[in-house]
């Protein structure tokens, strides 16, 4: 995408994802979000004197699964200490991977067929969480700071892309696709709002085909919306600076979601010297081929493959249908769709109900069995339920489960008999002679008007298609 004055943006993303392990990275404490502060802690994740880390094997497996899904090479790796002082980091160093990460050199293909290279995806531990009271809400100048160490030692994988992204839309698509992969591998729940996926963006601008410009790293991008907005803001800021004849300085910048702008956190000169060195409390990590093969074999289909399979079921899909496919893949609802289609449901209808009604109640999706979803779609398809009724039934199924037939019966959703439909149509033709006249003269748009009136008269029990058939028969 070309910016003003012939500039293009160059973006690389660093995505941190918390791994969905039962216990933390180096101790047996629960890895759980939302517990009472400082309840999931022990000598190890509190960094008490004398405590030592022991690597969680499951965290290594999930990191490998991410590597496999991103086509990386899984290599023998080591752990390093990243040294800096911060109150929510109990050892005042973070155990991370440095020059020898577990995953290197992969790529991620986006739905628009562009490819973004992956430089590395390495393991590290999360810090605790600070809450600063009073002052600016940041550490310096706060009246009081509270630290919750429940998150301390939660396993993370940091996925670093190459500088291959050229627009904020592509950055967003990358983050979305990566999120789908993290969910599909079982590595993450992908909940950005709970901080289980956090993004930093490296942004620079240049004239087309010129050497890379100086980059700024933007921190604190905790939603896809922030990512999109911050990149656009930052690229525009850099273009304006260059156009004014100024020089972009390499620095770390903070994104303020409320102000909608980035501001300097620290310049390159102020950057910390992390004094990385090999973590002497851990041994080298070299997963053997058999272990890698087990991880590879256990891995399910990734979003790209699932998207391809679902799209194959549609003939000449419209843009709206492709959007619906994206929703189905993103929310992993193709199990429902496939179950219904395999039992004869119309694929377009099944995708539409999944992408709209089921997606709207996604937090209760476990209440909805594939059988109940299939039955509801088939009832609608047969005309036993109108579209409105089918949506109501799905809503009830999501809210509390149950049997679609029983729910429909309890609500009095019976199929309108053809006699009673005929009678209703006849009454309406008498009631609306002008509209009928125009319809009879060939204005098909008026069919919608009569469908609406039939629905009103029958409390939504009629089926749209049957109404049209009845109207056409009288034309």
């Amino acid at each position: 995408m070309t910016l003003e004055h012939g500039y293009e943006m160059v973006v690389g993303l660093e995505v941190h994802t918390e791994l969905r392990t039962r216990s933390k990275m180096f101790c047996g404490c629960a890895n759980a979000f939302g517990a009472e502060p400082n309840t999931n802690i022990c000598p190890v994740c509190l960094g008490l004197p004398g405590s030592l880390p022991v690597l969680n094997v499951r965290a290594v497996e999930l990191a490998m699964a991410i590597g496999v899904a991103l086509h990386c090479v899984i290599a023998p790796s080591t752990f390093h200490r990243k040294n800096y002082f911060y109150p929510d980091m109990p050892k005042d160093y973070q155990i991370s991977q440095y020059d020898l990460p577990i995953n290197t050199g992969g790529y991620l293909d986006l739905p628009d067929a562009s490819r973004v290279s992956i430089e590395r995806a390495h393991l590290e531990e999360d810090t605790g969480k600070s809450t600063h009271l009073g002052g600016s809400g940041r550490l310096q100048g706060a009246d009081r700071s509270l630290v919750d160490y429940n998150r301390s030692g939660v396993p993370l994988v940091e996925i670093v892309s190459g500088p291959d992204i050229r627009s904020s839309a592509q950055a967003r698509a990358y983050a979305q696709e990566l999120r789908g992969i993290l969910i599909a591998t079982g590595a993450s729940d992908g909940r950005m709002e709970e901080g289980s996926m956090r993004i930093d963006a490296n942004v620079s601008v240049r004239q087309a085909n010129a050497p890379l410009g100086t980059r700024c790293e933007i921190k604190n991008l905790n939603s896809l919306r922030s990512l999109h907005r911050a990149i656009d803001y930052e690229a525009q800021r850099q273009v304006e600076m260059l156009e004014r004849g100024e020089v972009v300085r390499q620095e770390t910048r903070h994104w303020d979601e409320n102000l909608g702008e980035t501001s300097t956190m620290r310049t390159k000169e102020e950057a910390e010297d992390y004094r990385y060195f090999r973590e002497p409390d851990l041994v080298d990590l070299a997963p053997d081929q058999a272990w890698q093969d087990r991880v590879r074999a256990a891995l399910g289909a990734m979003p790209a493959e699932r998207r391809r399979l679902l799209r194959e079921r549609l003939q000449d899909p419209t843009d709206a249908q492709l959007d619906a496919v994206e929703v189905v893949i993103d929310l992993a609802l193709e199990g429902l769709v496939n179950a219904a289609v395999d039992r004869g449901a119309d694929v377009t209808l099944a995708i539409a109900r999944a992408a709209n009604e089921v997606a709207a109640g996604i937090e209760h999706v476990t209440n909805l069995t594939p059988g109940a979803f299939t039955e509801t779609v088939l009832m609608e398809q047969r005309g036993d339920l109108s579209a409105t009724q089918a949506k109501t039934v799905l809503g009830e199924l999501l809210a509390g489960g149950g049997d679609p037939g029983v729910i429909a019966a309890a609500r009095g959703f019976e199929r309108l008999s053809s006699d009673s439909l005929e009678a209703t149509v006849a009454t309406l033709i008498e009631q609306f002679p002008d509209e009928w006249g125009r319809y009879r003269d060939g204005d098909d748009k008026l069919a919608q008007f009569f469908i609406g009136q039939v629905m009103k008269a029958t409390n939504g029990q009629a089926n749209g298609k049957s109404v049209v058939l009845a109207l056409q028969a009288r034309r």
């Binding site: 008490l48 004398g50 405590s51 022991v54 005042d92 550490l139 004094r275 060195f277």
Partner: protein, 474 residues
């Protein structure tokens, strides 16, 4: 004083009780601790409870363990649940760990009775206990002299007859050097043989816990209790712990001993004489000998004083006033960190944190820390070459007998030099033992050092036993 093995036998047989043995130990502590300043904390209540449990086990016919009822002194850099652990630093004063080190659990399971926590150089950084924030320990054999360090309190506890056993930690000689200066046995086991879980880290890749005892058999018995794989320590050796006691009487017949020039050069004449006589004793017992030079060992001291401080600068970062120990309040958190660390750490600890921070800094890493790692690799290779020719190496433990207070405090480098013979073993992750052999100036003990490759402890104990007999302690 009876040996630990004898005490345990008597307690197990009912000839004595753990409570009585504890009372005896506490009596000596009460008589001498004020003068010698060996213990920073005496855990009378906890020790009594442990002793009573041992006696109850014996009374009920259970196996009370190889160290049943044996009082033992613990260096105060190992965590024991509920017992103050200070590392002889103001920054940890008053901290009571909520968990116990693996070695403490193993000692209690073996029937030992931990009596209390002994003095050390702050965070184990030093060779005399003069760096303790709470004042030095005096050498029980001559109170005008240092007991060595950093595990000086533990060595002195055994030398003063307070406890028959003690444990210390050895990062560059901190068990062997005080053992030598106090005239007792001190062992630096192979890296990973004894779990470090609960040992407050100084330099993680070098630290190793080991025993002090008055005789070789006691030391072997204690190390058997301490050794073994621990899932809580990732660097713990995966193999089963070696049996040691059954090899103490193996002798040295047919063993090839290498006398290493770099492990004796610069030592006082009386120390050299002890090494010469020790070699004669080993040959007398059937060993062969060869003189060796391992020039790489000369680089050990320099490499050590980059690697150990580098790791320490990171290990000691957590003492920031946020979670435990000392906090000196200030305007903001950075100022609080600074004020706390300025007030809480002593001069030597600060010196090493500065040194280590510098060695790891961007632009200096390759020239200092990176170079030191290369030297370390060379040293490991050089030792490996030597052990293709010989089974054990012999040298001095330390260049001189116990020195006077203040003698080496003016210039830190002179103090560092007292570890010149012990440091290479730590860098290589191998095993070594200091055995008293002969005396020097003022009748003070001299220690000789036997060194072996990783997991050679049984061989080392057998050779040490030969020296023990030759030195008149059958």
């Amino acid at each position: 004083m009876r040996s630990a093995v004898r005490i345990a036998e008597e307690v197990r047989s009912g000839a004595s009780t753990a409570v009585a043995e504890l009372a005896g130990a506490l009596e000596v502590v009460a008589a001498r601790n004020e003068e010698l300043h060996v213990f920073l904390y005496v855990d009378e209540e906890g020790a009594l409870a442990a002793a009573e449990r041992v006696d109850a086990t014996v009374a009920s016919g259970g196996d009370a363990g190889p160290l049943a009822g044996v009082p033992i002194a613990i260096k105060d850099n190992m965590c024991q649940r509920g017992v103050p652990t200070t590392c002889a630093s103001k920054i940890l004063e008053g901290w009571r760990p909520p968990y116990s080190a693996t070695v403490i659990d193993r000692l209690l399971a073996a029937g030992a009775v931990p009596v209390g926590k002994t003095n050390l150089d702050e965070f184990a950084m030093g060779s005399s206990t003069e760096n303790s924030a709470f004042g030095p320990t005096l050498n029980p054999l001559d109170t005008s002299r240092v007991p060595g360090g950093s595990s000086g309190g533990s060595a002195a506890a055994v030398a003063a007859g307070m406890t028959p056993l003690a444990i210390g930690s050895d990062t560059g000689g901190s068990i062997r050097q005080p053992a030598s200066l106090c005239g007792i046995i001190g062992v630096k086991p192979t890296y990973g043989l004894v779990s470090r879980y609960g040992l407050v880290a100084f330099a993680s890749s070098l630290d190793q816990i080991g025993p002090f005892a008055t005789n070789v058999t006691d030391a072997a018995t204690l190390l058997e209790v301490l050794a073994g794989h621990d899932p809580m320590d990732s660097t713990s050796l995966p193999e089963a712990a070696p049996s040691l006691v059954e090899h103490v009487r193996d002798g040295v017949a047919g063993q090839r001993i290498g006398v290493v020039r770099e492990l004796i050069e610069g030592a006082d004449d009386e120390v050299l004489e002890s090494v010469t006589r020790a070699l004669a004793a080993l040959r007398e017992a059937g060993a062969t000998s060869v003189e060796l030079s391992i020039p790489e060992l000369r680089l050990g001291l320099s490499a050590y004083y980059l690697i150990a401080p580098a790791e320490a600068s990171s290990n000691l970062a957590r003492y920031d006033g946020v979670r435990y120990g000392l906090r000196v309040d200030a305007d903001d958190v950075t100022a609080m960190n600074e004020a706390t660390r300025t007030a809480g750490f002593g001069a030597e600890v600060k010196r090493r944190i500065m040194l280590g921070t510098y060695a790891l800094s961007a632009g200096y890493y390759d020239a200092y820390y990176g170079q030191a790692l290369k030297v370390r690799t060379q040293m490991i290779d050089a030792f490996a070459r030597a052990y293709r020719e010989v089974d054990l190496l012999l040298g001095a433990t330390t260049p001189s007998v116990a020195f006077a207070f203040g003698e080496k405090t003016a210039n830190p480098l002179t103090m560092y030099l007292s570890d010149v013979f012990t440091i290479p073993t730590n860098l290589a992750g191998e095993a070594a033992i200091s055995v008293p052999f002969g005396t020097g100036e003022g009748g003070l003990p001299v220690g000789v050092q036997l060194l072996g490759p990783g997991r050679s402890e049984a061989r080392l104990f057998a050779a040490a036993r030969v020296l023990e007999i030759a030195d008149g302690r059958p």
